[in-house]
């Protein structure tokens, strides 16, 4: 067989992924004076960040002066059921306000307070109104601002370019190999440091708010390169996705609807969330409607409405209501803001929700309730990183944003994702640049490795028989949806793993029609490898953790277990298979532990 051809680009730092984290990393690395390549699977500005709606959590204290990083840190840790990497949560809470202000200096126009400062809105699990926002299109503002800032920083942008594998020289990562979607031609990036900012894995589930891009590329590439993954059992099912019509099932309905006064109701009109307040959050959650209603205006003397419990709690509650046949006609529950806020307020605060329901579901949310139900939204788990530097456990590799694990523990609070991207995206860029500057020896990318990857990538074209890649993807999504969903148990997880093995075999025989130019069938076929890997990782970790916590609920182990609360499930690949181990969490220093002892 002829040697596969490929072009080569060389940079000090390459950043894979151009959502919020990737753009921040690229900007920070360029600022540090190194040469930067930014690689994105879609066109620039289309990454998943663009879909984020609610806002950026940051204790700026513009609306509630009582707010500060300690309160935000505490909320984040409690939201993650204390499984978070404490240092990441601390850095995040401390640095988020500065990052929001930096975004403003880059040109972002947030909604304002009466004093002309950045306005902040309520969200689940946050003690104070804390989310800097622009209506319900905060992610769009964020990615556009970063994108237009980045293009003036001398960064080389490689659009519609998909990275398949990382390249290693001995123990260190020295580049990445992939293909141009436009032409199907191969491309090698040689780099002293690689930042992964590839987002999540939600496309492994059937009902998801995630786009085609979210196939766990970074998670898998890191694992295959020998890096550790942690917390892969924790998958966030956002409580409110659209449920009707079928074609829009899973599309996100922002938590801002509840932050801005919307409430959840069952078919009897009951505000059922009052029946689902867990012991852990009793102290801070209103147990009656009157107090919950007073809370919107007076947070000092009232406890938060249970509509705004952390997402894992709300998703499980909705799941239970639907199972108990108290759901809405199409298998969700009702989300009502029309009876509680004026049409003008709704259109001003939630313009894209108004538009989305009107256009896609024929529902006017200023006149009638929405039907909503859980949708796979976010993976808490990811590449194990060193908190301050975002360095993975393999030299030369960094990870930020959803692809990194630890920051959110077992459950992420709404709004903490965008701030995570800003804080750790920047840190990843800075530290990758620093590492690149101190890089010793020659930058080597072994052509043997590269050619072998290229040959594997072309195999689907050369098979005569074989399966349609879309069918395998659909079967995997069905498997994960039914067997590794919101509620899990040992038998189902084992069954899922068995089916994933079968799917892996089928994927080896996948066949692609047509040529290499912009061929989505081929793209899906190639993405199957990473999608199957992350699905397996998630199921393996879920089988390992014999307790229920955050985004991992086992009906055969229904309670949180203190011993498990001290452990991460770690996955690593050795000799071609994934090994599972339990390792202790980093221990929080006493001065931070104090924050959890006081009754606030």
């Amino acid at each position: 067989m002829a040697k596969p051809e490929y072009e080569t680009h060389e940079h000090d730092v390459i950043v894979i992924g151009a959502g919020g984290a990737g753009l921040c990393a690229a900007i920070a690395a360029a600022e540090a004076g190194v040469s930067v390549g930014l690689i994105c699977k879609s066109l620039l500005g289309k990454a998943h960040t663009v879909m984020a709606e609610g806002g950026i959590a940051a204790a700026m204290g513009n609306v509630w002066p009582e707010d500060n990083w300690q309160v935000h840190f505490r909320d984040t840790m409690r939201g993650g059921k204390m499984l978070n990497n404490w240092r990441m949560a601390q850095l995040h809470a401390q640095e988020a306000p500065d990052r929001v202000l930096e975004l403003e200096r880059f040109g972002a126009l947030f909604d304002r307070t009466k004093d002309g400062l950045i306005s902040q809105r309520d969200f689940g699990g946050h003690r104070y109104a804390r989310l800097a926002h622009v209506g319900d299109r905060t992610g769009l503002e964020m990615i556009r601002t970063l994108q237009y800032h980045a293009i003036h920083q001398g960064i080389d942008v490689y659009m519609e370019c998909k990275v398949e594998r990382l390249i290693k020289d001995g123990d260190r990562v020295t580049g990445a190999f992939g293909y141009w979607r436009n032409t199907g031609q191969f491309v090698l990036f040689k780099a002293k440091a690689v930042v992964l900012a590839t987002g999540g894995i939600g496309k492994a589930w059937k009902i998801t708010s995630n786009s085609w891009e979210y196939t766990g590329d970074g998670h898998s590439a890191a694992l295959w390169a020998g890096a550790d993954l942690i917390d892969m059992e924790f998958v966030q099912f956002h409580p409110t996705g659209m449920v009707w019509p079928p074609s829009v099932r899973g599309i996100l309905v922002t938590e801002s609807v509840r932050g801005d006064g919307g409430t959840l109701k069952n078919k009897d009109g009951e505000r059922f969330m009052f029946n689902y307040i867990p012991e852990f959050f009793k102290g801070e959650t209103a147990d009656n409607i009157d107090e919950a209603e007073r809370w919107y205006a007076d947070k000092k003397n009232n406890r938060r409405t249970p509509d705004l419990l952390p997402r894992d709690e709300v998703a499980r509650a909705i799941n239970s209501e639907v199972k108990a046949r108290r759901g809405s006609p199409h298998g969700g529950v009702f989300l009502d803001i029309f009876s509680r806020r004026s049409p003008d307020y709704i259109r001003k605060r939630l313009p894209s929700m108004y538009h989305q329901f009107k256009e896609l579901a024929n529902v006017d949310i200023t006149k009638e309730p929405m039907e909503v139900g859980p949708t796979c939204h976010y993976v808490m788990g990811g590449v194990r990183v060193e908190a301050d530097s975002t360095a993975a456990t393999v030299q030369g590799l960094y990870a930020a944003g959803e692809v990194a694990g630890g920051m959110h523990g077992s459950n992420r609070l709404g709004g903490n994702s965008l701030s995570d991207l800003l804080v750790f995206g920047r840190r990843a860029g800075m530290h990758a640049a620093l590492y690149a500057k101190n890089f010793g020896g020659q930058l080597v990318a072994d052509s043997g490795q590269v050619e072998s990857i290229a040959r594997t990538m072309l195999e689907p074209f050369n098979r005569s028989g074989g399966e349609n890649p879309y069918a395998i993807q659909a079967d995997l999504q069905e498997t994960m949806q039914t067997l590794v969903g919101i509620i899990r148990n040992e038998a189902e997880l084992k069954e899922a793993l068995k089916r994933i093995e079968v799917l892996k075999e089928r994927a080896k025989k996948v066949r692609v029609e047509g040529g290499r130019v912009y061929n989505p069938g081929w793209h899906v076929a190639l993405d199957l490898a990473s999608l199957l890997t992350v699905a397996e990782c998630s199921a393996l970790a879920a089988l390992e953790r014999k307790e229920s916590r955050g985004g991992h609920t086992r009906d055969d182990h229904p309670y949180a277990d203190d011993e498990w609360g001290k452990l991460n499930v770690v996955l690593r690949m050795r000799d071609g298979r994934v090994w599972v181990s339990r390792e202790p969490l980093p221990e929080m220093p006493p001065e931070l532990k104090v924050l959890f002892q006081e009754r606030k």
Partner: protein
């Protein structure tokens, strides 16, 4: 459930033609769902761009029955039963394959718009902006860069020779948003004239009509910008220039 006859453009480079597919559409389906169904069951290599499927990312622009639309926001039940529906790539940009076009022109133009240049902050180090001052530029920040306005712009569509000196409606509102930013101090006059080429726009409002975000591109963006250019117009300088034989910059 209903069976639709779809005419989907298939081709690569300069060649291509419509091909017919029969597809069953479920309740609530949009054109993008139908395209995905064709991919999954009949033509796995059918090329199209998409991401969010909710009108937020601006990736799935196409011409549906000749009209520039987002495929993800075009419901199948808006077409009369029995009607054949055509889906073609946006016509203004060079074809890559099937429904995917080369939109790199827009990314070149994006880079040319002079960026924000900030005022110094207030004495306490903070920036303050009032909501009423932010409302106007926020309208332009809604842009999802679907490039449908660029697709229908007559200058870009029909005048290849003018493209180097014309940036199109997307970047007029980008510049307008920056100009209206309460903290901006950048002068974009020269850009608007030389690279923006706003003088070439004859306000037919086609861009505004196709904007899926309903941004008032012409009324709120282009016209005020044209008016500002006219305000900057100095008849004495104009006369001098005439006599000196078209020198660009006055002495």
């Amino acid at each position: 459930m209903q069976t639709f006859t779809m005419q989907v453009f298939r081709g690569q480079g300069r060649q291509g033609d419509f091909r017919e597919y029969k597809v069953i559409a479920d309740e609530g389906m949009v054109v993008l769902d139908v395209i995905h169904r064709i991919q999954a069951t009949q033509a796995p290599d059918l090329a199209c761009r998409w991401n969010c499927k909710a009108g937020k990312c601006g990736s799935c622009s196409a011409e549906v029955n000749g009209k520039p639309r987002l495929m993800c926001m075009t419901r199948m039940d808006t077409f009369p039963p029995g009607e054949t529906i055509s889906v073609a790539p946006i016509r203004t940009f060079p074809l890559i394959r099937d429904l995917v076009t080369d939109v790199s022109y827009n990314y070149v133009k994006a880079k040319q718009v002079p960026p924000l240049r900030l005022k110094p902050p207030d004495p306490d180090g903070k920036y303050r902006m009032m909501q009423e001052d932010v409302d106007r530029p926020q309208e332009f920040h809604k842009c999802i860069e679907c490039f449908l306005c660029q697709d229908v712009c007559h200058v870009i569509r029909d005048h290849e020779e003018l493209k180097p000196a014309f940036s199109g409606p997307r970047f007029f509102i980008k510049a307008a948003g920056l100009d209206m930013h309460p903290l901006d101090t950048q002068d974009r006059t020269e850009w608007i004239r030389s690279q923006g080429g706003i003088g070439l726009c004859n306000i037919t409002k086609c861009c505004t009509e196709v904007c899926p975000e309903h941004i008032h591109i012409t009324d709120n963006g282009i016209i005020p910008m044209k008016e500002r250019m006219a305000d900057n117009f100095d008849p004495v300088v104009w006369l001098l220039r005439k006599f000196r034989g078209g020198r660009k910059e006055p002495a």
